[in-house]
Symmetry: C2
């Protein structure tokens, strides 16, 4: 039986391989892709495929973690693009056929810590392997 975790691993694998036919096979026709940070929403497999195919830059995805249960999953991936490594966090809903029907995705950017907690937190250098 294919689990939600398997599906999410396959999703990122097809994405990284630019295997859009395989990628499309994992998606519901009426998939909704939601980016709360920019308040953008993309509806439907065709538009979502085009968004991914047309995404600029020589980007490469490596999966850091996937956790799934039933028809839901979350992933944390690292996207290498133009010499930078940026994390992305996604929440997935699968439909009754096990296809991805909703993806809600966050692209958290670096920021400076607010003052007042230096006594509790250590800070490691940019680019450190952690």
């Amino acid at each position: 039986m294919t689990t939600a975790e398997d599906t999410v691993f396959a999703y990122w694998d097809a994405c990284e391989a630019r295997d859009w036919e395989r990628f499309a096979g994992l998606l519901a026709d009426d998939i909704v892709y939601h980016l709360p940070q920019t308040r953008e929403r993309i509806r439907g497999r065709d538009a979502f495929l085009r968004f991914n195919r047309e995404y600029p830059g020589d980007w490469h995805i490596s999966v850091t973690r996937v956790v799934g249960d039933g028809r839901r999953a979350a992933s944390w991936v690292t996207c290498a693009v133009d010499g930078e490594h940026v994390p992305a966090v996604s929440f997935f809903d699968l439909d009754d056929d096990g296809r991805v029907s909703v993806v809600t995705e966050f692209w958290p950017e670096p920021y400076e810590p607010p003052p007042g907690r230096e006594h509790l937190a250590e800070r490691y250098p940019a680019g450190a392997v952690v």
Copy 2:
């Protein structure tokens, strides 16, 4: 049996209630709290408790989603603070006793979408219920 999902719901519930004794009971002694965006790391239950207790502002947490499997889980919560609603995404590792031993947390901030995908994405107003 307590699942990772149950533990994460209890974690946020105790946090929101400022019930630091109950919160502490869910944590491993050697918990590591990791904030990749600021490159901060907080080690140990005492420091992590203090970080939470001292966190400024009249913040309130509501859980949007938790997904867990075995000793791992992810959550997406919404933090209401000073009239704003900001998402936080956390990945949890539990130790053999079911206590939270690693939390990796992201606080994704709003940003403007890059140009070139207006033909694919609809955009909804700030503050819209989605």
